[in-house]
């Protein structure tokens, strides 16, 4: 088989580098791979049965036996007795609470603003993912988008009602913490990684090593605790730095330490000849770094970078312990309401779907990016 492919790839056009063997449809594939011997037939049938049972069971729970709405009492309290006796999901909890879960305590009449903010974030991610936009103007787009986010969330200008940030909650908080966190942590991480590799600046190098090791030595929760519980005690009375800002800075510092090590991995994987060649060309340190070293090093570390990004997107849910209400926390708050206390599964399923949507999009995109950037290395 190997020899056949070798001959084919050398004799035919390079676009046919991976031809599918002739005469193999899905049925034939299943016959060889799933039902090849009696053992694999038995295993396949057992697994198929389990999958079918799970899918049917889920469908019955989520669709057939589900309750979509519940009646309300005259005082506006949900009568969830219908749900208590039903054997399916109670989607009425989502119907009742989705705005609270998505937007938290943001004033009800103004919730179109965080909704637009979420759309801006998604548009920003999409635009940043399209290669055509990879030019200097992208930085301007980011600045414009993040300004728009700030204006919409805070208000107070253009006739928008001011909304203090302790009333923010839900999905916008998650996206703000993750996006600002990664946007500021990444440049910081590159600097720290370069500083740690520096041979000419021992003081900077020591500082970077101490920073990275210190942050990596403690859990994110303790950094957040530090920011929310200890930090205010060190400040003079009456000086209050905003809680959201404190959490955001804590997340940036934490993310930067981890990303710095990822970037350093890329820097170390690069053959020394590249640096020497750049030196021979007479390039300055910054020219060498930004045109020769970083583009190659960062390409090497796309998978761990995205891994860290995804990790931090989910880690933002830890801010619940310092009293910030992100998406997951709002779900829990919604579930504290007595009539709905027993319907946590439904809420967690929906929250899970939202997280999957964002994280899966990230990992799919990184796969595409990796293939595109590594095109030169494919054989």
């Amino acid at each position: 088989m190997g020899s056949l492919r070798d001959t084919m790839s050398t004799t035919t056009a390079p676009t046919l580098s991976r031809p599918s063997p002739p005469g193999l449809g899905p049925i034939a594939w299943a016959r060889t791979n799933l039902f090849g011997s009696w053992v694999s037939t038995a295993v396949s049938l057992a697994l198929l049965y389990i999958v079918a049972r799970a899918v049917l069971g889920f469908a019955e729970w989520a669709l057939v036996g589900a309750v979509w709405t519940v009646p309300y009492s005259a005082t506006g309290i949900a009568q969830t007795a219908v749900c208590q006796t039903a054997h399916g999901a109670c989607w009425a909890v989502i119907h009742d609470k989705y705005r609270l879960i998505l937007f938290g305590r943001y004033p009800f009449a103004e919730q179109w603003r965080p909704a637009i903010v979420v759309l801006i974030f998604i548009a920003l991610y999409t635009v940043s993912a399209i290669r055509w936009f990879w030019r200097k103007e992208l930085a301007l787009i980011w600045v414009a988008a993040l300004t728009a986010v700030g204006v919409l969330m805070w208000g107070g200008v253009f006739g928008l009602k001011p909304v203090p940030n302790d009333e923010w909650g839900g999905l916008p908080i998650t996206l703000i913490l993750a996006t600002f966190g990664i946007a500021f942590a990444f440049p910081l991480a590159v600097l720290v990684a370069l500083g740690r590799r520096s041979t000419e600046l021992p003081a900077v190098k020591t500082l970077c090593v101490v920073y990275v090791e210190l942050i990596r030595g403690v859990p994110l929760i303790s950094v957040l605790f530090m920011a929310s519980v200890m930090f205010p005690l060190f400040m003079p009375a009456g000086v209050n730095i905003d809680k959201l800002l404190r959490a955001q800075i804590a997340i940036i510092l934490f993310a930067a330490a981890y990303l710095a090590e990822v970037v350093r991995g890329g820097l170390q994987a690069l053959p020394k000849g590249q640096t020497e060649a750049a030196d021979a060309m007479g390039l300055s340190y910054w020219q060498k770094t930004s045109f020769i070293i970083l583009p190659q090093a960062l390409r090497l570390v796309i998978p761990p970078l995205v891994n860290t990004f995804i990790g931090f997107f989910k880690d933002t849910s830890l801010v619940l312990i310092i009293g910030l209400f992100d998406l997951l926390t709002m779900g829990k708050v919604a579930l504290s309401d007595p009539p709905w206390q027993s319907f946590s599964t439904e809420v967690y399923v929906v929250l899970g779907l939202i997280y999957i949507a964002f994280c899966y999009a990230m990992s799919r995109y990184s796969r595409g990016l990796e293939q595109e950037l590594n095109a030169s290395q494919r054989r």
């Binding site: 005082t75 309290i77 969830t80 007795a81 208590q84 006796t85 009742d96 609470k97 705005r99 609270l100 937007f103 938290g104 305590r105 943001y106 004033p107 009800f108 919730q111 203090p164 302790d166 009333e167 909650g169 605790f225 929310s228 519980v229 200890m230 205010p232 005690l233 400040m235 009375a237 009456g238 209050n240 809680k243 312990i321 310092i322 009293g323 910030l324 209400f325 926390t329 829990k332 708050v333 579930l335 504290s336 309401d337 007595p338 009539p339 709905w340 206390q341 027993s342 946590s344």
Partner: protein
């Protein structure tokens, strides 16, 4: 060391406060309370609450914070700033609540916090009033046939780790020389699920939370029994920083006004009809005569604002706690067999 610095700071603040009080009498300016002056300058009262405890502070489906603690914040805001809407409700966690108050991030803390000697003695904070008298109770299934806590020898009991409940339950069983097996579960929905599925024979936490949980079970609530034994005292109170006694007075007497209003049958709907009342106590309360407001550094009509905008104690209770299926019990007025008793307002 930290505490020493803090204590010194408080002392300094208190001395400054005294100085300011002397000044204010001379100049008839300022309230004599640094916290109150700051809140007035800000146009906003910063009030720490939980934000996730049903009945005490929990956003409704439209994101508006509802509950006894949230309304307590609103009542003090109405007294101080004349408008209950000027409150800023700051969510705090069980971990950062005291720091938030100590560091001045909030002006007062109304976060279903138990009033204990240790907390008042150690934290540089003090309790102004109790807005809910709670206690540790037990919820069991009817099928278990248990009628009293002492009958639960050998039972497995679900409790949340690190809570005062855990200690109270252990003390109770040791005192009565009976055995039990604790099952420690942190997450609320998980602990409730464990109890319903029969992993533990009883579920123990504050009686208010047990009653709420039982109520949330809808038609299945009849299968669950809240045992009559309340094995610990959990007075949930409102805290302020030590060293600003004027502020302490304001918070305490806001409750006084709400309780007196309930005693006199004054509520948010009928308060205006009492403006022509002949009863001297009512006239003093509503600021029609006397100078109660001035004594606190408040508007003469502070109690009127509280009653009009937030209501008396019964209204606040009925609005927030009654829908959870919790009877008023010892939280009733002293005249109705409860513990809420306001000293005379004169």
């Amino acid at each position: 060391m930290r505490r020493l610095i803090r204590a010194t700071t408080h002392l300094a603040c208190a001395l400054l406060g005294l100085g300011a009080a002397a000044l204010s009498e001379a100049q008839a300016q300022g309230s004599g309370s640094a916290t109150m002056d700051a809140a007035r300058a800000r146009g906003q009262l910063l009030c720490g609450m939980a934000g996730n405890v049903p009945g005490f502070s929990l956003p409704d489906s439209q994101g508006v914070m509802r509950g006894l603690d949230a309304d307590t914040c609103r009542a003090v805001t109405a007294a101080v700033l004349g408008d209950a809407a000027k409150v800023k409700l700051v969510p705090t966690t069980t971990q950062n609540r005291f720091t938030a108050l100590q560091s001045g991030e909030v002006d007062m803390l109304s976060r279903s916090t138990t009033w204990t000697l240790g907390r008042e003695g150690n934290l540089g904070l003090m309790f102004a009033w109790v807005n809910y008298y709670d206690g540790t109770g037990f919820l069991v299934k009817k099928s278990a046939g248990v009628k009293a806590a002492k009958e639960m020898d050998g039972a497995t009991i679900c409790v949340q780790p690190g809570t005062s409940t855990e200690l109270a339950v252990a003390d109770f069983f040791r005192l009565n020389n009976i055995k039990f097996t604790p099952i420690l579960i942190q997450d609320l929905s998980e602990i409730q699920g464990a109890f319903l599925s029969g992993r533990c024979d009883a579920y123990s936490t504050d009686a208010s939370a047990l009653a709420t949980f039982r109520f949330s079970q809808g038609p299945k609530a009849a299968d669950l029994i809240l045992l009559p034994d309340i094995i610990s005292k959990e007075p949930l109170g409102v805290m302020v920083r030590k060293g600003d006694d004027k502020w302490f007075d304001v918070v305490r007497w806001t409750f006084g006004a709400m309780i007196t209003a309930e005693e006199k049958g004054i509520d948010s709907k009928n308060v205006d009809t009492f403006l022509t009342s002949k009863d001297p106590e009512i006239r003093r309360l509503l600021g029609l005569e006397g100078d109660l407001g001035k004594a606190l550094g408040l508007d003469p009509k502070f109690a009127y604002n509280v009653i009009k905008q937030v209501g008396n104690l019964a209204e606040v209770w009925d609005r927030n706690i009654t829908p959870m299926g919790v009877p008023r019990g010892i939280n009733n007025l002293w005249t109705k067999g409860g513990l809420q008793y306001a000293p005379p307002m004169r």
